[in-house]
């Protein structure tokens, strides 16, 4: 209760890796409020009781990014990378749309579930191919997923015969556009999946083992962890989550555009993970950080459009953000800051070592 306790709590918060991500979200929202004072206004639709407003839009747009960001953070924790998430999204969306189109325009729940099941199955197969190439054959992760990134878009084009495919199915549409207790279903789904993954990974030894592979594969194998099965699982999980993201993103318009769905989403996922404070070198991950990162990206996307800049220019802004974050992670830049902070450190020489250790274990 004392002020000292409060300041340590505050200091702890600032030291959290995703603290700056939260600050950035508020900064972007503030920027929007300056442009339009009513930006944050929420209203309740009198007809169906749904919440309406820009913030709800941001939450809805963040759902697919949340999915791929969580998958990507696990893959990066093993010291790998999954560049194929965007293409897997396109494949999953294409499978779902073609399935529903061929099933006729019936709006039954069964068709929707079948489409989702098939889409996730195909995504899992693509993920398994990545996983086998990385875990059992020992290819570099980025090259095997790069091949999948290229081939995946081709597969999506073959599935849809190169055309934008639309279908109508109300239960499927509801996933992306529906509301429950005033909130968008798609966001609730995303949060539930994130919580499940988070609990499974953090309440069991799974997360620890994943991180161990990323820190030192040889040492973890000697400690009795079988890296192959875990790696395979992680890549399959990443692809399935990307498949969910694909379903979410085609569901909003009920059309799959094979060259646009999930395009450049791999950067979003990597960016979300880096914003969340996960080092790209692997060895640790933070699900909470990935969530903050995904929300920040959704806010950034909406802000850029809101400020009237062409949406095809957003990659440039994201690239700048990712470069800055990578710079902040590098030892050289950290060294500059440490040098500047040296005088207070000299006074309490035992302190600087401790917080670093905490950061690693967190």
């Amino acid at each position: 209760m004392s002020t000292a306790a409060r300041t340590t709590w505050l200091r702890e918060l600032i030291r959290k890796p995703f603290f700056w991500g939260v600050i950035a979200i508020f900064a972007l929202l503030a920027l929007n409020v300056i442009k339009d004072p009513n930006y944050l206004a929420l209203s309740v639709n009198p007809v169906n009781g749904n919440l309406v407003g820009n913030v709800v839009d941001i939450l809805r747009a963040s759902a697919p990014i949340l999915m791929i960001a969580v998958g990507m953070s696990l893959v990066i924790a093993t010291g790998g990378i999954d560049l194929s998430v965007g293409s897997v999204m396109a494949v999953s969306g294409a499978v779902a749309m073609v399935f529903m189109k061929d099933a006729g325009q019936s709006g039954s729940v069964g068709v929707a579930l079948g489409a989702i099941g098939l889409a996730l199955l195909v995504s899992a197969i693509l993920g398994a191919i990545n996983g086998v190439l990385v875990a059992y054959i020992g290819l570099q992760p980025f090259i095997s997923t790069l091949i999948m990134m290229l081939a995946g878009r081709g597969i999506a084009k073959v599935i849809t015969e190169g055309q934008n495919t639309s279908a109508t199915n109300d239960p499927f549409r509801w996933i992306a556009n529906g509301f429950v207790i005033g909130l968008p279903v798609v966001f609730l789904f995303a949060i539930i999946i994130v919580i499940i993954v988070g609990l499974v990974v953090r309440r069991s030894a799974l997360g620890l083992m994943i991180e161990a592979i990323g820190i030192n594969p040889k040492a973890s194998r000697m400690a009795g962890i079988k890296p192959t099965g875990l790696l395979l699982t992680v890549y399959i999980l990443s692809a399935v989550l990307a498949g969910v993201a694909g379903i979410m993103s085609v569901g909003t318009v009920m059309t799959v555009d094979v060259s646009r769905t999930g395009y450049q989403m791999e950067l979003d996922a990597i960016l979300a993970v880096v914003i969340g404070g996960t080092s790209l070198a692997g060895g640790k991950f933070s699900i909470g950080g990935a969530v903050v990162g995904a929300l920040l990206i959704a806010t950034l996307d909406k802000t850029i459009v809101f400020l009237g800049i062409s949406s095809s220019a957003t990659p440039a802004f994201k690239a700048i953000v990712i470069v800055v974050l990578c710079l902040l992670q590098s030892d050289r830049v950290r060294g500059w800051f440490v040098q500047r902070r040296k005088p207070p450190m000299l006074r309490t020489p035992s302190l600087p070592a401790e917080p670093k250790k905490q950061e690693v274990s967190a």
Partner: protein, 354 residues
């Protein structure tokens, strides 16, 4: 007369090759035995010859002047990119930004040219844009310890985004623009009807790039350092080689050559758009890997990458000739070929280690 002469030329060549065939085979065998890393390059050459033979038998009109000249004209930019990628991959790095560097450089170049700038200045600027992007990724990688594929991925999106900021419409060069001269076709040998050997200044630039790259990699200190870094970075640093400078240099080379490729490509098409070159980084990587350069660095040949680029180009020709394969399969086939070659490399390297 000409009708009889034309088919005769390849026949005499074939006879010559047949007499020396056994000799050649034993020589190839000896080279492979002494240096297994040559195997993928040899495989690429065999595949290229196989594709030519198959195409000639199945579709015809492959081994003739205009098809082969067009193969070079249409893939001049890819050859340049493959050479650029070879430098980077030899050091064990990767450059994913080449495609979007081309987009940025060509959109900027065409807009400047249309704004009335001097064409020479425009061409130099287009190349310098590539140099700047390459320098940026090189500095990020060498001095800030960013992984190569992350740094160049960021550059890839930066380039695409900046190109989109400039324009999202196709930008067309004026019909009388002097830059188009680089894409103009000159007849070298006048065959019957359209069966001519034609060449463009763009192809000459590409061949010059290949020659210079070959010289730099095999005959200079810089080239030896490039190979050494790929073999073992720490060992080459301990040996006193200029590792930091060379590592930045390969990305600068890659960026610069992407700028050159942008000039060659734009001069051939006369149009630039912000979506130009999507997926070309993969074509360039595929060409390099097919040509026998190890993705882990240290082994590889520039001439192999050229063969790799021609294999990809010829594959496109065959797919178009066949007509039965949907064009969207092209990316899957490229991916499949790349995968096969990466697996082949894996097998070769693991054999060497044991």
């Amino acid at each position: 007369m000409t009708i009889v002469q034309n088919p005769q030329a390849p026949q005499t060549g074939a006879a010559d090759a047949e007499s020396g065939f056994a000799k050649l085979m034993s020589r190839v065998k000896r080279v492979i035995a002494s240096n297994p890393s040559v195997l993928p390059t040899v495989a690429a050459i065999v595949i290229f010859i196989g594709m030519v033979v198959y195409g000639e038998v199945a579709y015809g009109r492959i081994v003739q002047y205009n098809t082969l000249s067009n193969l070079f004209i249409n893939n001049a930019h890819l050859i340049i990119l493959a050479v650029a990628m070879t430098f980077v991959i030899l050091t064990g790095g990767i450059d994913l930004s080449v495609g979007s560097v081309i987009a940025l450089s060509s959109v900027a170049g065409v807009m400047l040219a249309n704004a009335g700038w001097d064409p020479m200045v425009v061409i130099v600027l287009m190349i310098l844009i590539g140099t700047a992007m390459g320098l940026a990724s090189g500095i990020l990688i060498q001095y800030f310890n960013v992984q190569p594929f992350i740094a160049t991925l960021a550059m890839m999106f930066l380039g695409r985004g900046l190109a989109a900021l400039l324009s999202t419409q196709p930008e067309r060069l004026a019909d009388d623009s002097p830059i188009l001269w680089l894409g103009e076709q000159f007849k070298v040998i006048d065959g019957e009807k359209v069966n001519d050997v034609v060449i463009t200044p763009g192809v000459i630039i590409a061949l010059l790039v290949v020659l210079i790259a070959f010289f730099v990699l095999h005959r200079t200190r810089t080239g030896r350092t490039v190979y050494a870094i790929g073999g073992s970075e720490s060992s080459s640093a301990l040996m006193g080689l200029a590792v930091p400078r060379t590592k930045v240099l390969v990305y600068v080379i890659s960026g610069t050559l992407s700028g050159v490729a942008a000039v060659v490509y734009t001069s051939r098409l006369g149009i630039a758009q912000n979506i130009t070159g999507i997926g070309w980084e993969l074509d360039a990587i595929a060409a390099t890997v097919i040509g026998g350069t190890l993705l882990t660095g240290g082994y590889g040949y520039v001439l192999g990458s050229v063969v790799g680029a021609l294999v990809l180009g010829l594959m496109n020709v065959l797919i178009t000739r066949d007509g039965g394969i949907p064009p969207e399969m092209t990316t899957i086939i490229t991916g499949g070929i790349l995968l096969i070659f990466v697996l082949l490399q894996r097998a070769v390297t693991s054999k060497r280690r044991t």
